[in-house]
């Protein structure tokens, strides 16, 4: 049961989100408007072929159906929204409708988090963690300013995790399968689910006697789970299989022609790698005999210019998609090991999800900065009952992770909003999250405190300072943000691994 305070806090959150309506919205706004239009005006078999707008449909079918459902409301609100030839339509009615759809669909996340708080015993900590998730800068910036539907999608993910916490493994699996049919980025965390469901749900041990594997029961469960998951994906993809459109779908969902780093380097390992390459280029120009020779290629003008394209390197070895794939898999080993070799509890699932998300974010090919929410949202659930180190890692990771989203909102108009929201959230998290009643900011080491405060300096340097400071090097502020926050994210990843593995095996 929701308390009055929960409702009031929800109301305040919604109020702020409504006030943000006139703020900047990115091209994603037009992307989703176009999807509304195309699902409304075209038969299903044309959805994945339509290309009047450059923003073609590249989410899996469930999301398309979600847009289809919304488009009926949109038609009642203002028919011009769903006119497929009415490109770049952004009248006030359209903005209101789309912004409102984000606010309302995000209630799924709220409901899921409240359920999580209840499952975790309804403690104050759990509620704090739930609200820190619901009102996080991640969703405020990416959904309510930049424009996307992450709140809704992560709501489904949290529901799935909550089902696991409640012991309904099958339901958790089905929900997650459905989530994959909404947005395939969640494949990043699929290994955690795979091992968890396989070993926790499917494998059944005999209650009596030697306690060996109960093969019959296990196979039965495997079939049950398999058929449920197949059913869900069948509903989603079946019609497209029947229409023979799967190759087209795959080419839309997985555009492999992109470069290693996104236009703005997501703060991951490759950002540091690219930065090191840049540094070596400058080094070998200044002192040719101390550094390895430059390879003659286009690298000298590439990724720092902020172009989406193949980034190549001049000093360090080039990185291929296969290499990032292997790196990601290797980095996911700890998560899987946790599930394979140790006691499998629902909390373990959440930990493994966090580690998998970490691995894909840090080492994946063409990662978006927004993917950091994939780590932060599940990790937010773990801080309901954190250890000290977990809390420290959460503080470092969440602040640097959310900070790394700031370049998404590049306009001067959003500057005070960015600063205020980041500060409000960070203060609340550091002050209200506690590990055995020690608030987070007291758990931090001096180095971590310095690092976190460093974001303030970074903000002054990259956002407030006059543009002439960086002269010709327009990309430098972005590189600074990306490298600085990447350090924090990498640090907290190592810390988390230590926390979860070393503590376990030591």
């Amino acid at each position: 049961m929701l308390s009055v305070n929960d409702l009031v806090l929800l109301g305040v959150g919604i109020g702020v989100k409504l006030l943000l309506w006139p703020a900047y919205h990115s091209t994603d706004f037009e992307v989703h408007r176009n999807w509304l239009a195309l699902t409304h005006s075209l038969p299903v078999d044309k959805w994945y072929f339509e290309n009047r707008s450059e923003w073609t449909l590249d989410y899996p079918p469930f999301f398309a159906w979600f847009e289809w459902a919304l488009s009926h409301l949109a038609y009642m609100w203002d028919p011009r929204i769903v006119d497929i030839d009415n490109l770049e339509y952004s009248a006030l009615t359209c903005v209101m409708f789309q912004r409102l759809s984000v606010v309302v669909s995000e209630l799924v996340l709220f409901a899921a988090l409240m359920r999580f708080a209840k499952v975790s015993g309804g403690s104050v900590q759990a509620r704090v963690a739930a609200f820190l998730g619901f009102l996080s800068p991640g969703f405020l910036f990416v959904d309510h300013v930049h424009f996307q539907y992450n709140g809704f999608l992560f709501g489904i993910l949290v529901y799935s995790l909550v089902f696991a916490l409640e012991g309904h493994d099958l339901l958790a699996g089905v929900t997650f399968a459905a989530l994959l049919c909404f947005k395939h980025i969640f494949m990043y965390i699929a290994p955690a689910y795979f091992f968890y469901l396989l070993l926790h749900y499917c494998v059944v041990y005999r209650q009596r006697g030697a306690g060996g594997l109960d093969l019959g029961a296990s196979v039965l469960r495997l079939l049950k789970l398999g058929s449920c998951v197949m059913l869900v994906s069948g509903i989603a993809f079946g019609p497209f299989v029947a229409m023979g459109q799967i190759p087209q779908l795959v080419s839309r969902l997985f555009p492999f022609k992109r470069g290693l780093c996104h236009a703005y380097w997501a703060p991951n390992f490759w950002a540091l790698y690219s930065f090191a390459d840049r540094a070596l280029i400058i080094g070998s120009r200044l002192a040719p005999n101390l550094f390895p020779a430059l390879r003659p290629n286009a690298a000298l003008e590439s990724s720092t210019r902020g172009l989406v394209g193949d980034s190549s390197f001049a000093v360090l070895p080039d990185v291929t998609p296969a290499a990032t794939f292997i790196a990601t898999l290797v980095a996911q080993i700890p998560a899987c090991a946790l599930l394979v070799f140790r006691q499998r509890t629902p909390t373990r699932l959440i930990q493994a999800v966090v580690l998998c998300a970490f691995a894909s974010f840090l080492f994946g090919w063409h990662v978006h900065e927004k993917a950091v929410i994939l780590i932060l949202a599940p990790l937010g659930l773990l801080v309901a009952t954190p250890t000290k180190r977990m809390l420290r890692m959460f503080a470092v990771l969440s602040i640097s992770g959310y900070y790394s989203l700031l370049p998404l909102l590049f306009g001067a108009q959003e500057l005070p909003i960015k600063a205020a929201i980041m500060l409000i959230w960070s203060l609340s998290a550091l002050g209200l999250l506690k590990s055995s009643s020690v608030p987070a900011w007291r758990c931090l080491t001096a180095l971590e405190k310095t690092y976190i405060s460093g974001h303030g300096v970074l903000f002054l340097l990259t956002e407030i300072s006059p543009s002439c400071l960086f002269g010709q090097m327009q990309f430098l502020p972005l590189v600074l943000v990306s490298v600085y926050t990447a350090l924090g994210i990498l640090y907290s990843w190592l810390g988390m691994i230590y926390e979860l593995l070393a503590a376990e095996w030591a």
């Binding site: 009055v4 305070n5 009031v8 109301g11 109020g15 943000l20 108009q413 909003i417 500060l423 550091l430």
Partner: protein, 539 residues
């Protein structure tokens, strides 16, 4: 905050249990601060309040402003921007003369100086924003951001610290929570927020100076108080609505036996020096000074301008006063009525302040400050209701002293602010601020629990019913305005209904707050403090 925290720790659980029984606990905003207290997170409360206040201000600033896109005259936004333009490019001798037809400067010198300072910065960043004549009606995105930024910076520099200092120095809260609630309430009440950051004006500067004046009164720094009030007056002549109360308060202080006369001399010197300093650029020319006076007090404009919820405008529905009398007669009538309305409160203030001589005990001093706030509220409300040439935005003036009393007048202040906000709706509607208006109005009503929550046993049953009734009327009028177009014969029907309703409510509040002022010292909690000062320890 440190002392309260310490006392809280000392008294421990017992006090928090006792405090939890307060009826205000059902108010959502109180339970937020109560929550922070139970979490031992008091340290983050004030920063969070301030940051949230900034966030909401800037969110409102994303919306439209007065006269946006309405060429050729635009609105208050363009007036303020235009003043930056003329003060930056012209010598002070031309400020009050330049092209008066196009938003000629008609605010006192401190506004002119503020315009000059802002214009100076604008000129450094992008001269096109304030280029003489050629920048008229400029509406680029960047220039809007700059203008919005100046309001926010001045608000942060003057209004915020005054509010925080006032409530942190105020005693008699009993605990930490109501103090924080008062700060939150004063910084986030919707009226000033929507007018300054939405409609676009710099009222928070003038009102901030007033709060500084009250703060200095509470600190017994009467000379500073006079200087702060002169600054308010020199920023916006509207501060005259407060002048009688400030005057009688300081006059009473001058009748003190020992230092009274010295104070009188000091005050006189401070006032003359402040005014002299502000008028320095024009001081040598009587013609210039007269021009400033004419510009600042436009008596020729008539009894009232737009529809405003005061007595004259409401009376106009029945009696067409403007057709019956000359403007000069109306001016006399309005002046007489205003004086009659504010004098009781001021004389009461004078008598009560005079009665207490010598060094004041903290409890007594607290009541003196409350008394000052009540009379500031009553005087400015009297001016709003009865004086000549009132703007709908002038309701901000009584709202501020009311907010300084928010801890003593829970339901009345909640309700008053609600009606004040409602009375400005026609103006905000014109500016396209319906969404922030709705969000902030609902936010205020919910967070402050107005109309009173049924669980609140302390508030009289009558108030409970009346508040609900008034809320229903306001909601009904909004819904009617949204869904039913007015009949052709009565195009202004909704504005007129708004004016009549708000005016009736303001008259009610005027009577009520006067009653509260007169009964302040005979109320149980206060009379004990006042009558037996010697027995109370000075903590």
């Amino acid at each position: 905050m440190a002392p309260t925290t310490r006392s809280k720790e000392a008294s421990g659980l017992k006090s928090s249990k006792k405090a939890a029984a307060r009826p205000s606990d059902i108010v959502p905003i109180n339970s937020w601060f109560r929550f922070l207290e139970t979490q031992n997170s008091q340290a983050i409360a004030l920063p969070l309040t301030l940051l949230f206040a900034v966030l909401v201000r800037w969110c409102v600033a994303l919306y439209g402003y007065s006269g946006q896109g309405s060429s050729p005259m635009f609105g208050d936004y363009e007036a303020q921007r235009h003043w930056m333009e003329i003060t930056t490019h012209l010598p002070p001798s031309k400020w009050y003369f330049y092209d008066l037809q196009y938003w000629g400067l008609d605010y006192p010198p401190l506004t002119a100086f503020q315009s000059w300072a802002c214009g100076f910065v604008a000129n450094l960043v992008n001269p096109a924003w304030v280029a003489l004549d050629s920048s008229r009606g400029i509406e680029t995105h960047e220039s809007k951001l700059f203008m919005r930024g100046t309001v926010l910076v001045l608000d942060l520099a003057i209004f915020f610290p005054a509010i925080v200092l006032f409530f942190r120095s105020k005693r008699g809260f009993g605990s930490w929570v109501p103090q924080q609630v008062s700060i939150f309430t004063a910084l986030l009440h919707p009226c000033l927020l929507l007018i300054d950051h939405g409609h676009f004006q710099y009222n928070s500067v003038m009102l901030g100076f007033l709060v500084w004046a009250v703060y200095f009164a509470a600190q017994e720094h009467y000379v500073y108080m006079a200087v702060a009030f002169c600054c308010a007056l020199m920023f916006k002549q509207m501060a005259l609505y407060y002048a009688p109360a400030v005057f009688f308060f300081l006059l009473a202080k001058c009748f003190q036996p020992n230092h009274g006369f010295a104070l009188f001399i000091k005050l006189g010197f401070a006032v003359v020096a402040t005014f002299g300093l502000m008028l320095l650029p024009w001081i040598q020319s009587p013609e210039q000074l007269t021009q400033i006076l004419i510009r600042v007090f436009p008596v020729a404009r008539g009894l009232y301008e737009d529809k405003v919820a005061n007595v004259w405008c409401a009376l106009n529905v029945v009696v067409k006063l403007r057709n019956m009398f000359e403007t000069a007669d109306l001016l006399r009538l309005a002046t007489a009525a205003t004086s009659l309305a504010f004098l009781p409160a001021c004389i009461h203030l004078f008598v009560m302040i005079r009665r207490h001589k010598g060094k004041l005990l903290p409890a007594v001093r607290d009541n003196m400050v409350k008394l000052l706030n009540y009379s500031l509220l009553n005087t400015s409300l009297a001016f709003f209701l009865f004086s000549f040439q009132v703007h709908e935005k002038s309701i901000l003036l009584p709202v501020i002293p009311a907010l300084l009393l928010v801890d003593d007048e829970h339901w009345a202040v909640n309700w008053f602010v609600q009606v004040a906000l409602f009375s400005m709706y026609p103006l905000l509607f014109k500016d396209g601020l319906q969404i922030p208006y709705a969000v902030l109005a609902i936010g205020w009503s919910v967070l402050r629990s107005c109309p009173v929550c049924p669980a609140d046993k302390k508030t009289p049953r009558m108030v409970f019913l009346l508040q609900w009734l008034s809320t229903l009327v306001m909601v009904a009028l909004h819904l009617a305005h949204m869904f039913i177009s007015p009949p052709a014969s009565l195009p202004d029907i909704y504005v007129v209904l708004n004016v009549v309703f708000s005016c009736a409510m303001f008259l009610f509040f005027f009577v009520y707050f006067n009653y509260r002022q007169f009964s302040l010292l005979s109320r149980p909690s206060s009379s004990r403090d006042m009558s037996t000062p010697n027995k109370r320890k000075t903590e």
